[in-house]
Symmetry: C2
Subunit: 150 residues, 2 copies
DNA sequence: GCCTTATTTGTAATCATTACAAATTGGATT
DNA sequence: AATCCAATTTGTAATGATTACAAATAAGGC
């Protein structure tokens, strides 16, 4: 756990959430790992430290965190919800090669204005899909190697 | 059916899809109704004209249409995929009061550039959440009435 | 009409999420 | 430190969208 335990406790208490062992560990993992994990992968990771941890606890805890604005649920995957420890609005990039979901910094003029086409904006959700920087490099290397070796 | 049957046939043939009765009806509905319906609501609507229509056909047909770029699946709802008869990239507005998903016209500088933070963009997905123009009007009326009647 | 193949249909399996009740925990009170 | 109480956690079962699959049906060429 990189994030200080006292910091986690304070963040939870600031939202009126009792800082239990499970909750602290879940929030800590999300702040340390900016991978936008699914419930399944969260469980796989956290069960190593908390062998009794149930998926039900993950579901209810993340629902609570989301309601309090501590985390943001992402609906990018068709099949599973992903959770983001960075709750402030930002955009994402889904790499169709490596599957990673990466934070991107986008300033959206429409969202700044607070309305679009007469509709009042409360939330902005955006993501791009394509090939990430690292996978592009990989392609380049692969091509070079292929060319080099014949 | 507003959209001409011959037009539908041509659109399907242009993508190399055999224009069956079911496929023509499904595409026609999506072009006539820009409501971004779910499988369930598509079935409810279309079963009136095609009583034997199965949900399996809807799933497989829409998967085929999406693969050919005839329709766009939207992952805005957490629980159900919605389908858009307008396949060219555009943004949406989800009204948290009436639940409608409305097309909005947004020009995104990042998407025009084709890359963001070094990542190569292939698709752009964006939606806003808030209160739509019509529901805002409704709120106003309600407030006025309340003020007026004491 | 008959044959072949694509499409459609019904049914069953899968899997994430939700519902729910029992077990456990942690803190307050005695 | 034992007891009590409410909140939290846990395990299990239900739900519901999606997928898998095989049988029924339809369409097109002969
Ligand atoms: Mn993020
Ligand atoms: Mn649309
Ligand atoms: Zn990648
Ligand atoms: Zn509305």
């Amino acid at each position: 756990m990189i994030t200080n335990k006292a910091v986690l406790k304070d963040r939870l208490l600031a939202k009126g959430i009792k800082p239990t062992y499970q909750r602290t560990a879940i929030l800590g993992f999300l702040l340390d790992n900016r991978t936008h994990p699914t419930i399944k992968s969260l469980h796989n990771s956290l069960v190593k430290t908390i062998p009794t941890l149930s998926k039900t606890t993950l579901y209810s805890t993340l629902e609570l965190f989301a309601a309090k604005g501590l985390v943001a649920p992402l609906t990018i995957d068709r099949s599973e919800v992903r959770y983001d420890g960075l709750a402030s609005s930002h955009h994402h990039f889904l790499c169709e090669r490596c599957g990673r979901i990466i934070d991107v910094d986008v300033s959206c003029a429409n969202s700044r204005r607070g309305e679009i086409g007469g509709h009042r904006i409360k939330e902005v959700h955006g993501y791009f899909k394509g090939i990430c920087k690292d996978c592009l490099k990989q392609t380049y290397k692969t091509n070079k190697r292929r060319i080099f070796h014949g």
